[in-house]
């Protein structure tokens, strides 16, 4: 116990800082991938064949690529080869590249979650929207997507939870986040190794559990009555 307490003396502020990085990665990547995923979902249900093909190709390629490879690609290729500099701050640059990588990856999953929501909307809703003279985009935006989102809360919640945990892969993109710090701590404080694992795991559980409960509550509350 004493050893564990001294771990907090030694690393406490870095633990919090690193985990804060995970939460920030989650926030920005969730926002960006939700927007990108919505655009992809609109493409996939659009009447234009080339957009549908692009959306399908994006989802199938990105979804089937390991996240580690996407994040490593960001650092080794985009930064290493092409010298991509989003900012002059060295660490912040990796952080932003990681957000882009996480967003690109999870957009494919958000797209499919939203599309599953679209499938909960009866075809007649789209026909009625078209019949009053709405063209595709307004019909999608005003009639289909509002109902699709409400029908897709549970699957979108699953994607969000996966995203939170996947932020630990950002270590592959050279971001100082919690799993990187965990490795460091394990190296120097092998005496409390198991407790280090449990601590980090518990931090994620504490964040994810309420989100899961919120998602369940929202998906019941916002369900579209038919």
């Amino acid at each position: 116990m004493e050893g564990y307490l001294s771990l907090w003396d030694e690393y406490g502020s870095r633990i919090m800082e690193s985990f804060w990085a995970n939460l920030q990665l989650t926030f920005w990547a969730a926002l960006a991938s939700l927007v990108l995923g919505t655009i992809l979902a609109i493409m996939r249900i659009s009447p234009i064949p080339s957009l549908r093909a692009f959306g399908a190709a994006y989802v199938n390629i990105i979804r089937n690529t390991p996240l580690t490879i996407i994040l490593t690609f960001g650092v080794l290729v985009l930064f290493g080869v092409f010298q991509l500099k989003l900012t002059n701050d060295f660490d912040l640059n990796f952080f932003q590249i990681a957000i882009i990588g996480l967003s690109i990856y999870h957009a494919a999953f958000f797209c499919e979650a939203i599309r599953s929501g679209v499938n909960t909307v009866p075809l007649g809703q789209a026909e009625a929207a078209r019949a009053i003279g709405l063209s595709f985009l307004p019909a999608a935006w005003l009639v289909i997507l509002p109902q699709a989102f409400r029908g897709a809360i549970a699957p979108m919640g699953n994607v969000l939870i996966a995203l939170i945990k996947n932020t630990t892969v950002a270590i592959a993109g050279s971001v100082a986040e919690i799993s990187g710090l965990m490795k460091t701590m394990l190296e120097y404080r092998a005496d409390v190794g198991v407790l280090i694992f449990l601590t980090v795991a518990l931090m994620f559980v504490i964040v994810v559990l309420p989100i899961g409960a919120l998602v369940t509550w929202l998906s019941k509350r916002l369900a579209v009555a038919r």
């Binding site: 009866p122 809703q125 026909e127 019949a131 109902q147």
Partner: protein, 256 residues
């Protein structure tokens, strides 16, 4: 009362004009060389057995179903294939569906105002006023802040009629509007439709309600196997059908 409709005429010919329309579902030839004209203020009822193509015909008129051959014109304008021009023309054609299809996430009032606001660019206050007067007319004004799922089927269908009317359509299409309703709710919807017919609305109605055809139709069209087999006044059709298919169809109705 038909004069008001006629006064706003922009085109002397028929409101709906189909010529040589053909459509296939794979091997099934669902619409076979259909020629049909509906004049301004006319109420045309399409009758026929299930699978005769009458619903498909109705849905081709605002291009919810595409056609393989032939042409369809609304008020003299040929139906565009897609895009904004098609959306614009659809705004002139009101449609009432068998399954109501009210926007499930919007209130009754919002269902009616969505088209005027988003398609016609009407101000919200003006659209609300128009919607309330239409809801009043179909008898559901007191339900305007509820969601569709809170209304009975008959009430939902009357809202759907109000939603279509809010676009001030040149013609109203009804695709089996009472087929999904409980028997006691059929009359409230039919009464609304008879009222519309008497006010001079141009209507094309696919239905199994023979009473409505007798009461409100100017012309009855009988379809079977993708073809228009017979057309005449309701009086002639019900008392003196010409074709064997129509005699057979009417015979089966009377025995029940």
């Amino acid at each position: 009362m038909k004069s008001e409709q006629e006064a706003s005429a922009s085109h002397a010919g028929p409101i709906v004009e189909l010529s040589g329309v053909n459509k296939h579902y794979g091997d099934l030839h669902v619409l076979q060389n259909i020629n049909l004209e509906v004049s301004k203020g006319e109420v045309v009822v399409i009758l026929g057995p299930s699978g005769s193509g009458k619903s498909t015909l109705c849905r081709t008129i605002n291009r919810l179903e595409t056609i393989d051959e032939g042409s369809i014109a609304i008020d003299g304008k040929k139906l565009p294939e897609e895009g904004k021009a098609l959306a614009k023309l659809r705004a002139d054609v009101g449609m009432v569906f068998q399954s109501f299809n009210l926007f499930a996430h919007k209130t009754i009032l919002e269902n009616v105002t969505l088209g005027p606001i988003k398609v016609k660019g009407m101000k919200k206050a003006e659209a609300d006023k128009l919607a309330m007067s239409l809801l009043e007319r179909v008898g559901v004004a007191n339900q305007s802040h509820k969601l569709p799922a809170q209304l009975s089927g008959g009430q939902q269908q009357r809202v759907a009629i109000a939603r279509a009317l809010a676009m001030r359509p040149k013609v109203m299409l009804f695709d089996e509007p009472t087929s999904a309703l409980d028997p006691e709710m059929i009359n409230e919807v039919l009464d609304t439709m008879v009222g519309l017919a008497h006010e001079g609305m141009t209507m094309l109605v696919v239905t199994h309600e023979m009473g409505f055809a007798r009461k409100a139709a100017d012309r009855v069209i009988f379809m079977a196997d993708g073809q228009i087999v017979e057309q005449s006044s309701p009086e002639d059709f019900f008392t003196n059908p010409q074709s064997d298919r129509a005699k057979d169809f009417l015979g089966k109705l009377i025995t029940h």
